[in-house]
Symmetry: C2
Subunit: 684 residues, 2 copies
């Protein structure tokens, strides 16, 4: 048993700061544990000892009879350190620090928090919090929390299969209450506050180990840890995350610097997509997705069939399928023929299949049309829409749907646009039939999309193009040095070298075909072109003068072959809290005006680079749009793979920009390269 | 009293097809009218006469005592014509045809529908439907419907201020049931089915006349009628529409044809935006917006202040403000100073203002911080967020909010992320305080955005640049003819004319400055450039040969001056069901790959053309992005205004494409023009 799992497995809980005083926060966990039937030992800790709510209290956790699996610390911030020491002394493996007054208050609080974590770590104690509202297991009735949710007169308290971890306690328990209200079954709710030691992601990873946990949900303000995300993804449990602070991630300005474009939030998007983790934008959407996670069926593809009793719902569903990134199934000819026999003439046999309100007089319409859709290999998932229908009609519909669900092995999601007061038994019937239900087609389809995101095959395997890791360049590496280094990983760079003098430059031009590119190599010269440091198409006669002009800028002169015509892109790699981030984008207006770049977190899997390129809005430019020749996107993908491998062992924070890279009809060539290390100045 | 308003004002209702048979649809309106306390006369019509549910029945509507304000026709499609004739004979002004079997079934049904409408119109009878579920007034208890909603045991039945009209009956009453479930107060629910005579929009316009109606909501599958939309907008009542079939509108292919780009759905978007009508994408969103419409306060601007008890909700609210197209207020220095005195040190005084959970022990935190935000001129609207809070705490918060709402004249929307079972009285308290509430900050902010959309000042007045209406061109008008015509409206075109022969062409080149553009003018030649029909930069010596080459294509040769450098855009105007649609887009990849165009429905108001240009993603290209000169967007706006006026009286369906138009540092020039009329072939 891991220390963290005491949040739901604890057989003994010490409540440090317990009190009997009515209204006090320190009374609430005592109330909740006793009232909701916690089966383990409750150990109130209060300097005055005595009894609290009829339970013997101890003056210190060191005085209480062990073993103690979990301590809930609810004393003032100034007394937390002492409580932590006591927990260490008592051999407690995990403590929740509910107290506020730490990093959330400023630098002093942050120092106190750091010190507290250090004390705990030195003593082998793991910490949840501080500044949190605690944790609850609905299954084992561990209520190490003071959330007002559990003081409500009639809080539903059934075992559940959903694990929900939230950095924000108020939002987390608020969302949990909404989940309960709509009949979802959370099994675990954990708030982790400042994430000082154990993070929300770590709790999610621990929950993934629980066999009874069928789906994982998180509200996060910070996602620093790719390894834990990977472990979560590898657990096979479906995960959905609401990460706030999306729009504060800015950085569209410095268009030619991939680092500036690769805002953290977009990197997170890319990483989650790579890992098959669903990202949602609101609490409602998190709960909608959670509801779909509760049941086991998963789609084998993105093709959706809609069966509806209302034409209006069918149209809304068709709209929503496109919005959700899914596909409207093209039904087989056999299906269409079979449906033509079933559906009334004023219905529709094409997808969306409109069986019309005739279903009210002939409920078998649902059964028979669902049988057809279940049997059709072009259907991966079914959305069943019905509108305002009263009790018995809903029951008949649900019976038909549940029969189909059992038979088919295909997920069926229900869009029932009608109030519960019309059919009060419907929610329980739908749950028993393992049919997730939503009030509108659009919401059902967002949940369906999440099911497909967590079940679609993830990129696997090693890509065809690989490179050995390269040594890291010096922080002040020049353009020719970087190009020479990269060439060692099979990255194509132009032929050429530093010219020794004007004569050598002229000789080089002849060697390179009679015309060449001259570039000033001046450490610290940031904007070479603007400074007059680049000459394209220099002939043999102009070479000496060009050499002298560029040398006058204070550095060396690089002479390179002219590249063929093609389309220019930028390629970059930089470190981020989630690991190395690869970026590709089309040059010019595409990045400057349209921010048209795509990202992946390294290492890239088979096909990742190709998908990065395909995601660009302007990708058609590379494929020969506007009557031009198709360019070698395969070589561009190859470059991305090689780059990903080549930099994999580079230490510290860095940014490597290849900008531009020209994509040619055959191959690519890196025309410029720049490197920045450890927040230092960018090399020329 | 208009005929249509009988849907809610009828003092007598004939139910044609009424029956006592249990379970029959024809029994339901009788049941509902009697059970829910309709005060007027109910006149069941059944060929057998007698009594139905204790009410005397008549064998025909012509036999029933008049006047009859409204007839509900529920007989089979084959007997509808007879019922319509009877209504005409009996002088009934409005009938609802609930019966199916009309246009929704195919051409035969469509013919029957057309004939039915013709009969009714000839007799002065207006029709709702066919293929609908009828209409309800919650205020006057007019229940001319068979919707199962009103058969439910406990349907809430209070007077309301929201008017909801839906083409789909099932979806309409389904959505109405969800509205009732969440405590909204619909006053009118009308389904209009096939919209054969009276359309859903017309019903909305009639509802706008009702003083008690505070907000209008529509579910539409078709919006053919700009005049009614304008009238709705002019009524001053807030309107939100859910229009389905968004994604079926395609047409991104033929990039150089503005008609193809201006898909109907995007035109509808533009028209609604021009008219200050809110467009929503889902039923939930429609109801969220409706809830905000119920209360009178409106924002004077888009600047939002957030006050929250949970940091998490504050961050989510900040994200949602940007998503909703609103602005996070920059609070004044005075406000910040005042808040610093109020908010606990671990809270936040910058917007979002986090008053923290300390509000639980000191409810005045809410009062005092709201006072500051109400007084701050940089705040137009306030979002108040709180999470899971139990009964008494919610009451205190609501009391503070309602005091502020009364004081301030600024709308306050509540995001209460907590279940109703925690505070069962909260929904009623919030309603009494006229505070719309939502479960998440994002939903509150979408509703806030709708409030701003309906209350923001709409473009008014005549624009500076105007032109007299031009006569319509001939269907086969050539490029020089079109240019000559447009020049008459002040549209700038290049100098030049048709060359008579090779010598004349050479003379023209000299006259135009030594270099010119040669263009073949061949009726029916669609792709001039591809056919070799355009030569740019023809000098005097080359002129005769160029003339002969182009003349060989079978038509005349136009010789024009070379235009200055600039950026090419496309400008178009075409007819649509909503009126003439103006389109502007950047040329090249922007339209071909990115579909970067914007639309407005004519006539343009002051500033509309400028806004069209500003909406383009690539607009920065015109403003001197990438170090180039700023171009004359004022002249482009002027062109759009002139074009809007110039074509205003052109009859029939047409499309006029000015592509490209070159935007210059000073002015614009129309380089090519093409005209298509009545679906005919496009002229060269």
């Amino acid at each position: 048993m891991s220390a963290v799992s005491a949040l739901w497995n604890a057989e003994s809980i010490a409540v440090i700061g317990a009190t009997e005083r009515p209204g006090a926060l320190g009374r609430k966990p005592m109330d909740f544990l006793l009232r909701h039937g916690y089966k383990g030992r409750v150990l109130p800790i209060n300097p005055r000892g005595g009894e609290i709510l009829g339970v013997p209290a101890y003056t210190s956790v060191t005085e209480a009879p062990g073993p103690i699996d979990l301590a809930l610390i609810m004393v003032g911030a100034d007394r937390v350190a002492g409580a932590v020491d006591d927990c260490v002394a008592a051999g407690v493996p995990l403590a929740i620090i509910a107290s506020s007054g730490f990093a959330e208050t400023g630098p002093e609080g942050a120092a106190l928090q750091e010190e507290t974590v250090a004390r705990a770590r030195a003593g082998g104690l793991r910490l949840i919090g501080p500044n949190c509202i605690g944790a609850v297991s609905f299954n084992n009735r561990v209520l190490a929390t003071f959330s007002p949710l559990f003081g409500a007169e009639s809080v539903p308290f059934e075992p559940g299969t959903l694990g929900f971890v939230s950095q924000s306690g108020a939002l987390g328990f608020g969302a949990a209450s909404l989940a309960l209200q709509r009949g979802l079954r959370p099994g675990w709710v954990v708030s982790t506050g400042n994430d000082a030691d154990v993070t929300a992601l770590e709790v999610l990873r621990e929950l993934a180990e629980e066999p009874e946990c069928h789906g994982l949900l998180g509200y996060l303000e910070d996602v620093p840890d790719l390894e834990t995300l990977r472990a979560l993804s590898a657990s096979g449990k479906p995960v959905a995350l609401l990460k706030s602070g999306r729009t504060e991630a800015g950085g569209r300005a410095a268009a030619s610097h991939t680092g500036a474009l690769a805002t953290d939030d977009r990197v997170l998007d890319a990483a989650l997509r790579q890992l098959g983790i669903v990202r949602v934008d609101d609490i409602d959407e998190l709960l909608d997705v959670a509801h779909a996670f509760e049941f086991p069926l998963r789609p084998k593809g993105p093709r959706v069939a809609v069966v509806t009793t209302s034409g209006g719902s069918g149209i809304l569903a068709a709209d929503a399928i496109e919005d959700a990134g899914l596909e409207l199934s093209e039904l087989s000819e056999e299906s269409i023929a079979a449906l033509t026999e079933i559906v009334p003439p004023f219905g529709a046999v094409q997808n969306p299949v409109d069986i019309t309100a005739t279903v009210l007089s002939d409920p078998s319409l649902f059964d028979r049309s669902l049988d057809v859709l279940i049997a059709d290999d072009s259907v991966d998932l079914i959305i069943a829409c019905f509108c305002v229908m009263a009790g018995p009609d809903v029951e008949k519909a649900v019976t038909a749907l549940s029969k189909a669900a059992r038979k088919g092995g295909k997920p069926i999601l229900v869009a029932r646009t009608g109030a519960d007061f019309l059919a009060p038994d419907a929610p329980a019937m739908l749950r028993d039939a393992q049919l997730p239900d939503y009030p509108t087609p659009a919401r059902a389809l967002k949940a369906a999309s999440a099911l497909w995101q967590v079940s679609r095959p993830r990129p696997q395997g090693t890509p065809a193009a690989t490179a050995e890791p390269l040594p890291a360049p010096a922080a002040d590496a020049t353009e020719p040095q970087l190009k020479a280094l990269l060439a060692g990983a099979g990255v194509p760079v132009p032929k050429g070298r530093i010219a020794r003098d004007a004569d050598d430059a002229a000789a080089l031009v002849r060697e390179l075909g009679g015309e060449a590119v001259f570039k000033a190599v001046v450490p610290g010269l940031l904007h070479k072109s603007e400074a007059g440091g680049v000459r394209v198409g220099v002939g043999g006669q102009e070479a000496p003068a060009a050499f002298r002009d560029l040398a006058a800028l204070g550095g060396e002169v690089l002479v390179e072959e002219l590249a063929e015509d093609g389309v220019e892109v930028l390629v970059g790699v930089r470190t981020s809290p989630l690991g190395n981030v690869l970026t590709v984008g089309l040059g010019g207006i595409f990045t400057e005006l349209l921010d048209d770049v795509s990202h992946r977190v390294a290492p890239l899997a088979e096909g990742d680079a190709e998908r990065m390129i395909a995601e660009l809005r302007g990708a058609a430019l590379l494929h020969g749009a506007r009557g031009t020749q198709a360019l070698d996107t395969g070589a561009l993908a190859d470059l991305l793979h090689r780059l990903s491998d080549a930099v994999s062992t580079w230490p510290g924070d860095f940014e490597l920009d290849l900008n531009p890279v020209r994509v040619l009809p055959n191959g690519v060539v890196v025309l410029d390269a720049a490197f920045t290390a450890e927040g230092g100045d960018q090399a020329a």
